[in-house]
């Protein structure tokens, strides 16, 4: 769809609501009640699954026609591996992102990989 400036405001408000609800509901409930263990057990695997899905889409999927691109974007894939090593060794988000940006600029813009 085509987005107008007004659509952007609506999007921001809807996004804010979608982001706020999961934050406030458990805070309101669990400041007075105990946390059910099944809920924790299920929630534990949501972030890692979602982040992996997002990364896999960025690296292996053409988002215009949703085809599998394999190892076509090798520069991005190599940069991703470098980012994982940096994240593992330093536990620093800023450094991971910075190294990732430098690596991908070198590989894709510099070497045309």
């Amino acid at each position: 769809m085509h987005y107008t400036a007004f659509d952007h405001y609506i999007l921001v408000v809807l996004a804010a609501i979608a982001a706020f609800l999961p934050r406030i509901i458990p805070l309101r409930i669990f400041t007075s009640k105990e946390i059910p263990s099944w809920f924790n057990a299920w929630m534990k695997y949501v972030p890692v699954s979602l982040f992996t899905s997002l990364v896999v889409r960025d690296l292996f999927i053409n988002t215009h026609n949703y085809t599998f691109t394999g190892f076509h974007h090798i520069g991005k894939i190599l940069s991703a591996l470098i980012v994982m090593v940096v994240a593992y060794r330093t536990r620093s988000m800023g450094l991971s992102v910075l190294v990732g940006l430098i690596a991908v600029a070198l590989f894709t813009v510099g070497l045309h990989w």
Binding site: A18, A19, L21, I24, Y45, V46, F60, S79, S92, G100
Partner: protein, 259 residues
């Protein structure tokens, strides 16, 4: 313990490392939002109201690929669902606060300031809910100003050719979050499963709904497998659930609680 500096300076010192690392990422996020069609004001607004790097990068990347609004909002809801867990785990420390406090506290909570506050609550007895809220607001200030500047200056810079490059900040941030989440072998296995499922679901469904399907399936498998392993009474002996410690040492945030 003698008070040598006022409380807000102490709290600010706790928040400062996080605030500084928000500057480059917030700037990149602002540029991407601007390229995706947002102006500096809407970029500032979304930074304050949503205040989530993941969600804002997601908005930028989905607007660039012209995704419909309901898909974007639904993706954000699923992306932000994890805060239900973070909020639950912090709730024991913010009992007895007012409703108004909880609304403000919840609205500005994100992955990073949660990590800082959780550590402080767990290790520093003098850490109070209002200090935690202050950390949230310091990080919010740095994040939103960086986004605003990125969006304002992004329009002046010829970065269209480098869009894919700057966009990688999103991928790098998610990769960082994945690495931080890998606690044991089962989590690694679920991560790999989610990746394979995402490719299959995206190719079949030809929309970002594939991400939601892959996430729900993979996390459900993780939940079921863990249930099964713990029911067998192998909670701590199972190699699949054995906690794994990353190599880098944990940072000590501050020591001002010590005598």
């Amino acid at each position: 313990m003698e008070k040598t500096q006022s409380r807000w300076v102490e709290v600010f010192k706790v928040a400062l490392p996080l605030c500084l690392s928000y500057v480059p990422i917030g700037f990149a996020c602002g540029i991407l939002l601007n390229v995706a069609g947002f102006n500096a004001f809407t970029a500032l607004l979304v930074s304050i109201l949503v205040f989530s790097g993941g969600a804002q990068f997601l908005i930028a990347s989905m607007l660039t690929t012209n995704s419909p609004m309901h898909t974007i909002v639904m993706m954000i809801f699923f992306l932000e669902l994890r805060y239900a867990l973070l909020g639950s785990s912090l709730s024991q420390y913010v009992r007895g606060t007012s409703k108004k406090f909880l609304y403000f506290f919840g609205a500005s909570m994100n992955d990073e300031n949660y990590a800082v506050n959780y550590l402080k609550f767990a290790t520093d007895k003098s850490w109070e809910p209002k200090d935690a809220l202050q950390v949230e607001h310091w990080t919010l200030l740095f994040w939103s100003v960086s986004n605003f500047l990125g969006a304002a200056l992004g329009g002046l810079l010829p970065i269209q050719d480098y869009l894919e490059t700057v966009d990688f900040a999103l991928t790098a941030m998610f990769l960082y979050m994945i690495v931080m989440q890998l606690r044991n072998r089962l989590t690694l296995l679920i991560s790999l499963l989610a990746g394979v499922l995402a490719i299959i679901a995206l190719v079949i469904m030809k929309s970002t709904m594939g991400l939601i399907v892959a996430t729900l399936l993979a996390s459900f498998v993780g939940f079921m497998v863990e249930e099964k392993l713990t029911k067998k009474g192998t909670d701590f002996s199972s190699p699949w659930l054995k906690r794994h410690k990353p190599k880098a040492s944990k940072k000590v945030v501050t020591k001002e609680g010590a005598e």
